[in-house]
């Protein structure tokens, strides 16, 4: 059985490697991907269009706003799917008996507790910096959201899942995950109301008289990134909390 798989893998890899000569060289600035008018436009026009120096954030939140919006929705759906899968399984009788892992998590280690108490605020502050500074330096909603989610997961690992869930109960994190998507969509709807296309932030400068259209784009990107960070951080914690407790949300690892 294994050699059939090996043959299939080597055949696939051989086909891909046989096409190697047609691919552009490493670091070729004039390869089809790098010389396409789309990426040239992003590099040349991002600053004039929105005044955002980080092109990755500008492309993510402005030029490809639809894509990012639905990526956020995919993350949200994945989190809900995990909860749904594990909750349904809870009602199925029989199967493997649950392992009594509760006693292990109840031990309070003073070194781990103190380290996490010092580390978690710094981690969360850094996550907020990464989110808020996403259009001037490497960062953005996805990256900062994952760091923020990791800080909650760290709290859940160090102190046990139950104290973490007391501070961030399931109702609250699901609500906050939805709030993120609602923030994102509301920016698009606001553009629609003001008579422009969905997620065409330039028109939002009419809301604040002192703002130019470029500044409106830049600030809307920040707002959208905050929405993404809400959803991503809460879903990361939801994935951990549900997987670690087999969907029962008590005990944990």
């Amino acid at each position: 059985m294994k050699w059939i798989g090996l043959i299939a893998v080597i055949f696939t890899g051989g086909l891909l490697l046989s096409a190697m000569d047609d691919f552009p060289n490493w670091g070729d600035a004039h390869s089809p991907a790098n010389s396409s008018p789309v990426s040239q436009y992003y590099i040349e026009q991002t600053m004039t269009d929105s005044g955002v120096p980080n092109m990755v954030t500008a492309v993510l939140a402005d030029y490809r706003g639809y894509d990012t919006m639905f990526e956020t929705v995919v993350v949200l759906i994945a989190g809900i799917a995990i909860m749904a899968i594990l909750r349904v399984a809870k009602q199925v009788p029989g199967g493997a008996k649950p392992t009594p892992a509760h006693e292990v998590g109840d031990q309070h280690d003073i070194i781990i507790g103190t380290t996490c108490r010092l580390l978690i605020p710094v981690l969360q502050l850094f996550a907020l910096y990464v989110i808020a500074h996403g259009h001037h330096s490497p960062g953005g909603g996805f990256q900062g959201g994952v760091i923020l989610g990791a800080s909650f997961i760290l709290a859940a690992i160090a102190k046990g899942l139950d104290p973490a869930l007391q501070r961030l109960p399931e109702k609250r994190y699901v609500k906050l995950a939805f709030v993120g998507v609602v923030i994102y969509v509301s920016f698009g709807v606001a553009c629609l109301i003001l008579g422009e296309n969905f997620l065409d932030y330039g028109v939002l400068h009419e809301l604040l008289p002192t703002m130019s259209a470029e500044e409106a784009r830049s600030h809307s990107m920040l707002g959208v990134e905050i929405g993404v960070a809400f959803t991503v951080s809460m879903i990361m914690f939801a994935i951990y909390a549900n997987l670690a407790s087999k969907g029962e949300l008590e005990g944990g690892l």
Binding site: D21, S39, G51, P53, I239
Partner: protein, 173 residues
Amino acid sequence: MSVMGSFIISQYVLDHFNFWVAVILMMIGLYAMITKNNLIKKLIGMSIFQTAIILFYVSAGVKEGATIPILEHHAAETEQVAAGDAGAEHGSVVGADHDVSKSSEKAPAHEVHEINPDDYSNPLPHVLMLTAIVVGVATLGVALAVAQVIYKNYGTLEEDEILAKIKAAENDG
């Protein structure tokens, strides 16, 4: 012959080493997905496959000698500093260069002039992979949840044992 051999190696391997790495990683992941019996090992293979695709995309956006796709946004400040002390050794050339371009077109002060696309790596693959990584984590979470349910119902994660249990259950019913 050795010249020919080194030519072939440089053309097929060294110039395309990023594709070689991606394809080899992809083969490892695909092999694990096809042949491994344990569902968690299959998921590890899927993650390796995903990493190969991410590396492939990011390496396609690399340009030789280019920097990260983030523009220098303190240009206006350095410009003013350079204009302030015109006799400064290192600042004067930069300042003069900026003054010329500033007078030629009336642009906002924060704008960076004459952006050469060859100086910045391609931002588009970075954006695509940025979202792909996060969505990959989310889908991996769903897969692990399904694996957990399977373990709960069958008491094993080995594929052949699960199949045997399903067949036994079908024969009973």
